[in-house]
Each structure stands twice: as structure tokens, then as C-alpha cells.
């Protein structure tokens, strides 16, 4: 199989951030929990490659650890969406046209009807701001997305003859869903997962930016932006670097999603075979 160019570029780009996040568990240039007020707002130098922030923390280290937060939040939020949305979508497709299907789809519409940011703010108003609640807020809105994609993909598979063959073989809906439907919509889910992952990174940044995401001292790209924005004139790199990190990560994931879509699209694949 020939890999699409976007997939390679995207994987390298987002892979860099994932790698940086992983590396930060073992080593960072400077410990981010130690403040050295005397060293605040230092320009880039050999000691601080990207300079320091208003607390004298190393920006490179902050970005590395911040990647961890972004990735963790987005990943778990996608996990919530998959864990709840996929079974719902499979169930709705297996019982298409039934009351269950109707309830699931209406429920989805209802969640979609709520302004997501407002609900995120309300959730943090109820439970207090934290990375966990940011995950919850983002995750909830992933559920209908995955439910819908799953149902749509599953419905088209349900009409195929091999499903009929499986039914003739006496398999029930649960078994058919697990054995035949799920593996064949996996590519759809992977592509959607990549997209939701990148949206999750953006959402986490937005929530942290308004102060509802991960709480200090945990570094987070969105909060770095928020902290830095008043210093954009004196030390513009403070605002520009985390912004670039977000753009790079999201861009990488989107490119990867696009590439995966091309690589996994059965229509395209059949043409290549």
C-alpha cells in the first residue's frame, strides 16, 4: 500500500509532539515546578532554548509537559466518545427504525443542540475547573459524534449479503455487530477518532484559555496562552510559541486524519488493488 503524503507529514508532525510529551516523563531541560522569579522573561539563550515565562520557567519544558496535558485530555475525551458512542451507534443500527434507535438518535440531536462551550462552562461551574472536568465536558460532546458515525457506517454494512449470511448462520445482532460490523467500520472510526482528537486538543486549549481546564501548576498550552497574552508586546514569543504548538499538533492530526481517510477508504483501496 502506498502511504499518502499527508499521512506521512501529519504523522511526523504530531509524532514530534507525542514524542516530546513522552520524553517529558523522563527528562525536561528544566523542572517546571520550580519557579525562579529572578530569571523571569528571559529571551532565548543557550540555557533556556526558548526563553522563560513570567515565573522564570523554561518555556521549552513547559511546552513539553503541556503537550502531555493536551494529549491526555483529548485522548481520554475521545475514549469516552468511543466507549459510549460506538455501542450506542451499533445498537441503533442493529435495531434500526425501532424505538431504541429513535431514542438514541434524538438523544444525540439533543446533545448536539446544546452549545458545547456553554455546557463546558456549566460543568466546571458545578464541579469546579479541573482537567478531569474538561475531559468530561469534551467527552460528552464526542459521544453523539461517534454514535452517529458508527450508526451510519453500520447501517450500510447491515444491508450487505454477508450479514444475511451470518444471520442464516444463526448469529444474533450482538455477535454480528462485534464480528462483522465493528471491524468493517473501524477505518471510519479511526479517521473520526483522529479528527475528534485534534478537536479535543483545540477544545482543551480553549477551555484552559478561559481558565476551565487543567489547573496550575500543571502546564497547559491554553493556559500558557492566557497567561502570556498580556505580555504579547513585551515578550511575544510567550504567546506565539504555545499557539504554534497547538497549530502544529492539530495540523498534524488533521493531516493524518485526511491521509488515513485516503489510505483506508475501501473504494480507493479497491482501485489500487
Amino acid at each position: 500500500m502506498r502511504w499518502p503524503v499527508q499521512l506521512i507529514i501529519g504523522a511526523i508532525l504530531s509524532g514530534l509532539f507525542v514524542l516530546a510529551a513522552a520524553a517529558s516523563f523522563l527528562w525536561v531541560p528544566h523542572e517546571v515546578s520550580t519557579l525562579s522569579i529572578a530569571d523571569r522573561l528571559k529571551p532565548p539563550s543557550a540555557r533556556y532554548l526558548l526563553g522563560t515565562d513570567h515565573f522564570g520557567r523554561d518555556i521549552l519544558s513547559m511546552l513539553m509537559v503541556g503537550a502531555r496535558t493536551s494529549i491526555a485530555v483529548a485522548l481520554v475525551a475521545v475514549g469516552i466518545g468511543v466507549a459510549a458512542g460506538v455501542p450506542l451507534g451499533l445498537a441503533a443500527a442493529a435495531r434500526r427504525g425501532s424505538l431504541l434507535d429513535e431514542i438514541i438518535m434524538r438523544g444525540n440531536d439533543l446533545i448536539f443542540a446544546f452549545p458545547s462551550l456553554v455546557i463546558a462552562i456549566l460543568i466546571t461551574a458545578v464541579f469546579g475547573p479541573s482537567a478531569l472536568n474538561a475531559i468530561l465536558a469534551i467527552g460528552i460532546f464526542n459521544i453523539p459524534v461517534f454514535a452517529r458515525v458508527t450508526r451510519g457506517g453500520a447501517l450500510s454494512i447491515w444491508t450487505l449479503d454477508y450479514i444475511l449470511a451470518a444471520r442464516v448462520a444463526g448469529k444474533n445482532a450482538l455477535r454480528i455487530s462485534a464480528e462483522h460490523i465493528l471491524p468493517n467500520i473501524l477505518n471510519l472510526l479511526i479517521v473520526q477518532g483522529t479528527i475528534q482528537f485534534s478537536l479535543g486538543i483545540l477544545a482543551e486549549a480553549g477551555l484552559s484559555y478561559v481558565g476551565l481546564g487543567a489547573q496550575p501548576p500543571t502546564p497547559s498550552w491554553g493556559r500558557m496562552l492566557a497567561d502570556a497574552q498580556t505580555m504579547i508586546y513585551t515578550a511575544p514569543r510567550l504567546a506565539i510559541l504555545p499557539g504554534l504548538a497547538i497549530v502544529g499538533m492539530v495540523l498534524g492530526l488533521n493531516l493524518m486524519g485526511d491521509g488515513l481517510r485516503d489510505a483506508l477508504d475501501p473504494r480507493l483501496r479497491r482501485a489500487r488493488e
Binding site: G170, P183, N184
Partner: protein, 533 residues
């Protein structure tokens, strides 16, 4: 009037058409026959310069003084729809769903500057009348979705002939249609060719269709024309072995050696299947749609029973009911004496006795699984036997494949091989009844002949009972002992196959048989008349 000389086409460097040469004369029908992938459709598209992106063309296609292949895009636009009209295989998708038929027919006129919109609509009306869609029943404001397949194909024809082109290209124009509709569309085309004196390039895979239609004929194989000439002459001589193979295969009749036993294996009695219709108003529900209406018949053990009927007659619904996949609203189905309680799980020992083979060799298998797992799926019923591996090997061998094929994925197989695998899957539980739902309809004729042979051999070897469902009369005739004709949910005629085909009693059966195209008797040197296929 159109003379194609040395047409070659390559897509991304891969040669597809090689040195194709033929002429289509005004008022004549030129048939182009070949199996799928032989390049016949691409030939047509190449003439219109509509071949896929990345194609490179060489050769000449002279229309009068104009070489179509060297015209720039702008020039081609003036030719398409104006001097050359084209209709395609799939009428259900060939029309824009969001425009009325009137607008779409009129557009041909408007786009070539022949009329303003108002005049064009008047002319469109006249054209639609011409193709048999009278104003009273088919106003210009109709949308395509409100028309049947045959009616849509008429709209396509009206669109293609709106400007009375010199050449009409019809690419498998009737393949997607029922046999009776096919006959009407073919008659219409023939009539148009005579009256409008246009040339018709008729592309089809069906020898019988061209036999009845074409003045001249070319046979294509792998991008080349292997043989061409006046139709009757070509049929009588068949100089190229490929032509002979095609001919043999299209009328192939496998040897029948199995003898049915007494006593019914499957008993269908007064079966009714209804579907609710969507609400017409908020509170009023219309009466349900009855897809299968009090159908009764028996299949004897070891018998091959045919079920023919046009699309929408209820064949598939009946099949699913027999398989126990759909609940009944009346009647009963008994397999080997035990009732099939549709809509609830069937006991394993019953399920085992009945297997099915579907039409689509591509949609019948989970592409993620290896052949071994695909074939073994019916073991789900009674648990995996100890000798599962040996039985899988045996099943593969029975259908003419190698045991080593079990480790491959389905996409590595051709359409015919896939149908073999589907049959192997059906055989794995050693069933007594196999339902063949249009099992050979999607296959090219030569492959179809092989599969029919295989089915006949298996029946003899394992004493199988077949319920053979098809819209194709010739196939049903070639493989069944007895046949039933279904129309609008009811069985209108049943009896021994030869009796029914030889002397149909019901008007509908008569119409079906009359509509099926046939290669005229005596065209083949040694030959008796054969229905085409």
C-alpha cells in the same frame, strides 16, 4: 458516418484499448459485445473524450471530416449531445434527482443554442411523447424519483435524441431493466434508428440482445476487437475461438443426472408477508403492503425448483421468510416436517439443513476475514466439529478450489471464485436445501457456465435440493426440474420446467418468455435454437 481507426487508450500508461477499428453507418445498429473489463464501455467514452482522467488516446475517429479524438474540449462540447447522443446502463442514477425531467431534456436543446428555454420545453414535451411518455401521465414537472427504471431510461433516450444526433451510443441500456421492460426499450431504440436514420452503437454483454438488434457486430476481448462482421454471418461462422466460447457459454446447459425423490423437504403453505406503509397522515395508517400473498408450494427432496419473476415481485422477501429471517403474517413454512418460526432463532439442527448463496460476489463476504473463517461461519450453529479443518478443505475442493486458498483473503479472488467460496460456505454444514438467490446473475457468461456445471455436479454428488431464484429465464431453464413464476407476490404458474417454458399457460409467463431475447434458430451451423442469456 463514424469511422474509428486504430483507437488505442492507456490510463496512466497502462494500455486498455488496442487498435480498435470499426464503422457505424447511418440507420444501422452496430453491436459491440464483450465480457466485463473487455473495454467496450471505454471505447464509447473515448469517442466522446469522456474517458477517466489520466487517459491518453491515439488513433482516429472520423465523423464526417472531423476527427473526434483531436478536437479540443470546446469543440467536443458542441459535438456531445448534438451530433452524438449517449445513454448509460443505470437509469436510476443517470438523472439529476433535483431537476424535473422536462428541464433535463430541455437542457440539451438550450445548451446547444437551439432554442430558448420556453421553446426547449415545448420540444422536450414532443421528445418525451416520442419515447412513449405521454403528457397526460408524465408531465414535464415530474421528478426522476417518481418514475420507474424503464421510464427513466426513456427519459435518458429522449435527452440523447433531443437534437436528432447522427450517432447514438447505448452502453448496456437494458442490463439494469427487467426482461419485459428491456424488450420495450430495445423496440424503441430500433424504431428510432429506422425513423431518424441515426447510427446506433449498442454496447452489451448479451449475445441474444445483439442478435436481435445489430446489423453488424464486433466481439471485444481484452481491449481488442477479435472478430467483426455482419451479425448473421458472424454468428454462423464464428471464426474466433473466443466468440465460440461466448456463444457456447451463453446457452450452456449442464448435464442433469440427479433424480428427485418423493416427499417434500420444504413445505410452504399460504404464506403471507406484509410491511407497514409509512403514515399518510398523522393519525391514519394506510393498509400494509403485501409483498408475499398466500404463496404455497412444496420442494421435494433432491429436486431443483426454479422461481422466476421480475424485480419487486416478492422473490427476495419469500427467500428471507423461508430462511426464517422475517416474521410471517399468515401461513406456515415447514422444513423437513418442522415449522420454521420466522423472526425467532431457529434451532441449530434445522438451521444446519438450509443454506443460502447470494447474488453479489463482492458483498457476500466480510473482507476482514480469511476464507477459512468465512467458510466456517455456519459452524456457529451446532458448534465447531472436531474435523472442521478437514471439512473446510473438503468443501474447498468440492467447489474446485485448493485447500491452501483457506488462508487467503476474499479480495484476492475473482468474482467466479468468490461464488465458489460462497457455495463452499453453504456446503460446510452438509445441508439438504440450498437456496440460490440470483447466485449466478452477476457473473460473466463463461464463468456462469462453470458455476452452473459445478452446481449440477454437487447436486448429483451430495443429493442436494435447490431453490433457484432468478430473473433470468434461460438460466432457470437450464438448471431446474420444476419452475414457479411469481408476479406481484403471487405464484401465477408452476409446473415442470420444460412444460412451462414450452407451453406457458398464464398470460404473464407467455409475456416473459416472448420478451426474452433469443438468438435466431439456425444461425449456428450445428445448432438448434437457444434462448440467449
Amino acid at each position: 458516418m463514424i469511422a474509428v481507426e486504430g483507437l488505442s487508450l492507456a490510463i496512466h500508461g497502462q494500455p486498455i484499448l488496442r487498435d480498435v477499428t470499426f464503422r457505424v453507418a447511418p440507420g444501422k445498429v452496430f453491436g459491440l459485445v464483450g465480457e466485463s473489463g473487455s473495454g467496450k464501455s471505454l471505447t464509447a467514452l473515448a469517442l466522446l473524450q469522456l474517458a477517466p482522467e489520466g487517459s491518453t488516446l491515439s488513433g482516429r475517429a472520423m465523423m464526417g471530416d472531423t476527427d473526434l479524438l483531436s478536437l479540443p474540449e470546446r469543440g467536443m462540447c458542441a459535438i456531445r449531445g448534438n451530433r452524438i447522443g449517449m445513454i448509460f446502463q443505470e437509469p436510476m442514477t443517470a438523472l439529476n434527482p433535483v431537476q424535473t425531467i422536462g428541464e433535463q431534456v430541455a437542457e440539451t436543446l438550450v445548451i446547444h443554442g437551439r432554442a430558448n428555454r420556453h421553446e426547449a420545453l415545448a420540444m422536450a414535451r414532443e421528445r418525451l411523447d416520442r419515447v412513449g411518455l405521454p403528457a397526460a401521465k408524465f408531465p414535464l414537472s415530474r421528478y426522476p424519483h417518481a418514475l420507474s427504471g424503464g421510464q427513466r431510461q426513456r427519459v435518458c433516450i429522449a435527452m440523447a435524441i433531443a437534437l436528432r444526433p447522427e450517432l447514438l451510443i447505448a452502453d448496456e441500456p437494458t442490463t439494469a431493466l427487467d426482461v419485459t421492460t428491456q424488450a420495450q426499450i430495445l423496440d424503441l431504440l430500433k424504431e428510432l434508428v429506422e425513423q431518424e436514420q441515426m447510427g446506433l452503437l449498442l454496447i452489451t454483454h448479451d449475445l441474444a440482445v445483439v442478435a436481435g438488434m445489430a446489423d453488424d457486430l464486433a466481439v471485444m476481448q481484452q481491449g481488442r476487437i477479435v472478430e467483426q462482421g455482419p451479425t448473421e454471418e458472424l454468428f454462423r461462422h464464428m471464426r474466433h475461438p473466443y466468440t465460440r466460447q461466448l456463444f457456447e457459454a451463453s446457452g450452456h446447459r449442464p448435464p442433469q443426472t440427479a433424480v428427485p425423490q418423493e416427499g417434500p423437504l420444504l413445505r410452504v403453505h399460504g404464506v403471507i408477508r406484509e410491511y407497514p406503509r409509512p403514515r399518510a397522515a398523522l393519525l391514519r395508517r394506510p393498509p400494509p403492503f403485501r409483498a408475499v400473498n398466500e404463496v404455497s408450494f412444496d420442494i421435494r427432496r433432491g429436486e431443483s425448483l426454479g422461481l422466476v419473476g421480475e424485480s419487486g415481485c416478492g422473490k427476495s422477501t419469500l427467500t428471507r421468510a423461508i430462511l426464517g429471517l422475517e416474521p410471517l403474517q399468515g401461513g406456515e413454512i415447514r422444513l423437513d416436517g418442522e415449522a420454521v418460526h420466522a423472526g425467532e432463532p431457529m434451532p441449530a439442527h434445522m438451521r444446519r439443513k438450509m443454506q443460502v448463496v447470494f447474488q453479489d460476489p463482492y458483498g457476500s463476504f466480510n473482507p476482514r476475514h480469511r476464507v477459512r473463517r468465512l467458510i466456517a461461519e455456519p459452524f456457529h450453529l451446532a458448534g465447531r466439529p472436531d474435523d472442521a479443518g478437514a471439512r473446510i478443505d473438503a468443501a474447498l475442493e468440492a467447489v474446485g478450489l485448493r485447500p491452501s486458498d483457506a488462508d487467503r483473503f476474499i479480495h484476492e479472488f475473482s468474482g467466479g471464485q468468490r461464488q465458489r467460496i460462497a457455495i463452499a460456505r453453504a456446503l460446510i454444514t452438509r445441508p439438504e436445501l440450498i437456496i440460490l438467490d440470483e447466485a449466478v446473475s452477476a457473473l460473466d457468461v463463461r464463468v456462469r457456465a462453470q458455476i452452473l456445471d459445478l452446481l449440477a455436479a454437487l447436486r448429483a454428488e451430495f443429493g442436494l435440493t435447490y431453490l433457484f431464484i432468478s430473473h433470468d429465464l434461460s438460466v432457470v431453464r437450464s438448471i431446474t426440474d420444476r419452475v414457479m413464476v411469481m408476479k406481484a407476490g403471487e405464484i401465477v404458474e408452476q409446473g415442470p420446467t420444460e412444460a412451462v417454458f414450452g407451453a406457458p399457460r398464464h398470460a404473464y409467463t407467455q409475456m416473459l418468455i416472448a420478451a426474452a431475447p433469443v438468438i435466431p434458430a439456425g444461425w449456428r451451423g450445428d445448432g438448434e435454437a437457444r434462448p440467449g442469456g
